[in-house]
């Protein structure tokens, strides 16, 4: 019997008594609906909630710690050093290792005037991560937020210069396009005062009173110190022909427009003629050589700006004196003062001075949950304005005072540094109580306050696996290197295991229902075969073989399974929509809820339909055998 003919006969049989088949499929329907609902919920929560906060292929590890009577202590010498990072990167299946460093000094912050009406203050806890780790997440999340924007607001405008565009828009190719804040979370130029290399982060040298990165592949000019012997060139440098082999990386330029991050085009900075190229002399902090490089511009704070810099909650604003628009040296009578370049501000080296350099705000990320928590706690308790739209936060600035604290005694005012920070994105990798900046920003600050040694080691590392299947082996290998899972990863695994167990329990219950349904199908089909023995006899007389009869009965059962499975899935989908809308209503105060808590996987749908058909067929197996064994001679002679 050919499959086409079998399907024709199957269709004829199914149409005969649909109620019978619907009744037979009820059990399968309930089982599949339940299985589908809970698997989709489990998968959705895993993918859209758990994986969002704790991506499956990313694991945070930290050094093993001693735990004595519930108090944890770090094993001596067990910080994450560069060697450890290399060891972790060598673990098979590890795609990348991203070190993480926390701030090691006291700090506080204030800001929020733009959307809260007045500045709010708080203690600042922050850490640094490599921008590459969150690039994709920031982009996806920001574009997700932009997609929700009303159309009229997103309309594009023509422009010639940046000033033609409204705030939050950039003039790109003669059109105003929405500024993509996620691109701002990158390694900006950070200015840190120094008196020696040890106050600078690793791979930095102290030159011209500021920490500067040693030459890298992106530099177009390397300025090396003059030297007489290797020790003058730092631990990794050599003295060759009177110059250190390692120098400071500069980008050469001819005009300010060629420089980024608030830098301007100036003569090479110096603190001694010995570092100036071409035998030029160092005068007032700049080499006399013709070549110019992108560097921090000197500036002076206005009175109002200085007031806020010392802690008075006023808006940063106004012109900043002291930056020379011409080529004169700052502080001289020839200097023509002008504000810092667009997008930068005048930052000083401590709270007691008004002299500083133009610099860009630290790009900052916050955890979306912290905004939800603010709305749920602080906003309602203190009657503050709720933040219902994350877009108003993007691009907003706040001040960070390093060396000061609400919790403990602050450092002397001369050691306190105030910097602007700007919120550029939301990431689940950020601590809920705190914020995150690019790794090198934290390293600069830690080196300034605690020295290079502290800035050279990390607190944790995030391992990114090639694939999800590599994660377990990756964790085992990390443990063998005396690392343990970080708190977030431990939590993630706990939650993931709980979710797995819950899914398993509901899956098992669903399976039991489907097995009971298969038993029900067995009874129904045995009854049907008894009722249809005459019809089966006729088919045998007309040329159906026992195999044909068996196939027909099993096909009918498969049809019952398929029908039950499809309706079950449809019901599960319908209930999931209802559940979603209820969850949305109940948790409407949370801004970053996933759009859908359920993930219906096409592969699972197909396999569960196959499973439903198989269970139904197994249930009908006995009836099919009985039908195939019916003796047509007996059946037709004694109808």
């Amino acid at each position: 019997m050919r499959i086409g003919s079998a399907l024709v006969v199957l269709g004829q049989n199914l149409r005969r008594n649909p109620k019978h088949y619907i009744f037979a499929s009820v059990g399968i329907l309930v089982g599949v609906a339940m299985l589908s609902f809970f698997v989709a919920l489990g998968q959705g929560v895993r993918d859209r909630v758990l994986n969002r906060y704790f991506p499956v292929n990313q694991v945070e590890v930290e050094p093993q710690r001693l735990n004595i009577l519930g108090i944890e202590g770090q094993l001596q010498g067990r910080a994450v050093e560069s060697d450890h990072i290399a060891d972790l990167a060598a673990i098979p299946g590890v795609k990348a290792v991203y070190p993480k460093q926390r701030s090691r000094f006291q700090a506080r912050l204030w800001g929020g005037e733009a959307f809260l009406g007045e500045a709010k203050h708080g203690e600042a806890f922050f850490d640094g991560i490599a921008p590459a780790l969150v690039r994709e997440e920031l982009q996806t999340r920001e574009r997700g937020i932009a997609d929700k924007e009303p159309r009229e607001k997103a309309r594009v405008l023509p422009c010639d210069v940046q000033l033609d565009c409204p705030t939050g828009f950039d003039c790109v190719d003669s059109w105003c396009s929405r500024h993509e804040y996620w691109t701002d979370f990158r390694s900006i130029a950070v200015h840190t005062d120094c008196t020696g290399d040890l106050g600078c982060p690793p791979d930095h040298l102290c030159m011209g009173g500021a920490c500067r990165p040693i030459s890298g592949k992106d530099s177009t000019l390397t300025v090396g110190r003059r030297c007489s012997f290797d020790a003058q060139c730092g631990p990794n440098g050599e003295c060759r022909q009177g110059r250190c082999s390692i120098g400071v990386a500069f980008t050469t330029c001819t005009a300010d427009q060629e420089c980024n991050d608030g830098l301007t085009c100036q003569p090479i900075p110096c603190d001694a003629s010995s570092i100036c190229p071409d035998g030029s002399h160092c005068r007032k902090g700049r080499c006399g050589a013709d070549v110019k490089v992108c560097d921090f511009a000197a500036c002076r704070l206005t009175l109002g700006a200085r007031a806020q810099n010392t802690g008075v909650p006023e808006l940063i604003g106004g012109a900043m004196e002291g930056r020379c628009a011409n080529e004169a040296i700052f502080g001289t009578a020839d200097c023509i003062a002008e504000p810092c370049p667009r997008g930068s501000y005048c930052g000083t080296s401590n709270a007691m001075t008004s002299q500083g350099v133009c610099m860009t705000a630290y790009p900052v990320l916050v955890n979306p949950l912290s905004i939800d928590m603010y709305n749920a706690t602080a906003a309602s308790s203190l009657n503050l304005q709720r933040i219902s739209d994350p877009r108003i936060l993007l691009g907003s600035s706040f001040r960070l005072r390093m060396g000061d604290s609400f919790f403990m005694e602050g450092l002397a005012p001369r050691e306190q540094i105030t910097r602007q920070a700007r919120l550029v994105g939301f990431s689940d990798k950020v601590p809920v109580f705190g914020f995150t900046v690019p790794l090198h920003v934290v390293q600069h600050a830690n080196a300034h306050y605690k020295g290079r040694d502290v800035a050279s080691v990390y607190d944790a590392a995030i391992l990114v696996a090639d694939s999800n299947s590599d994660v377990s082996a990756m964790i085992r290998a990390a443990r063998s290197l005396d690392f343990r899972l970080g708190p977030s990863s431990r939590e993630a695994r706990k939650l993931s295991n709980m979710l797995f167990i819950l899914t398993l329990v509901f899956g098992f219950i669903s399976l039991v229902i489907i097995i009971v349904a298969a038993i029900n199908i067995a009874h129904t089909f045995l009854m049907m075969v008894t009722e249809r023995r005459h019809e089966i006899g006729v088919m045998r007389a007309l040329g159906a073989s026992p195999g044909d009869i068996r196939s027909l009965i099993l096909l009918e059962a498969a049809g019952v399974g398929l029908f039950g499975g499809l309706i079950g899935h449809s019901i599960a989908y319908g209930v999931s929509r209802l559940a979603n809308s209820i969850i949305e209503q109940q948790l409407q105060s949370m801004m970053f809820l996933p759009g859908d808590f359920f993930a219906f996987d096409m592969g699972f749908l197909c396999w569960s339909l196959v499973g439903a058909m198989v269970f139904a067929m197994v249930g009908a197996l006995s009836a099919a055998h009985r039908a195939a064994r019916l003796d047509p001679a007996v059946v037709l002679t004694n109808p």
Partner: protein
Amino acid sequence: MSTTPESSAPKALIQARDLSKEYREGGRTVTALHSLDLDIGEKDYLAIMGPSGSGKTTVLNLLGALDTDYGGSLRFNDSEVKSMKRNELAGFRNQTVGFVYQSFHLLPHLSVLQNVALPAHFARNGSPDRKELTKRANHLLLRVGLDGMQQRKPLHLSGGERQRVAIARALFNQPRMILCDEPTGALDDATGDSILGLFEELNEQLGVTIVLVTHDQVVADRAHSILRLRDGRLDSAPEEES
């Protein structure tokens, strides 16, 4: 038709030698058929008569390969029926034999057209396409006088009409032999007469071999020859009808 082999006779379509059938019934063996020798040729029209329990239906089931558990030999076109495999037997019933029963055995949930075309779905060599099926079924319904009743359900037909549907179904795969078990038993005389007329027509015009079981002498008299059975044995030599 003859009951014994004759070397000069034309080759038989069906040849039974020492054909016997036993049943197990309540722990004892009942012999339903005793050493029957039978030859049925092409285009024969044979009536099998006998009282109830004489073995008429047993012979019919054996001839139609519905029952292959027999003693002796039963050959169809020189092929031993009991040595055929299940699929061959199914194919034999599908392609070579058509069955017509007293109670019609139509499937009530199918239309007349679907009932007639049902054998096509069990064809071993693949069924013709839907268009061809419908064309053939319509042609057969026209032939048995049921044109225009294609979409009716059997429940809405008279007994005679149902039997005509059953005959059309039996003819669907152009069988060489039609086996009829009391085909007029449930019909009134006039209808029965028209059905018998149809058999004669099929036998004469299409050359279909007809084997008809009946206990009605009038019906049997319409056949070319009559085989009488009593207690599973030949009651007498077959009577050749003129």
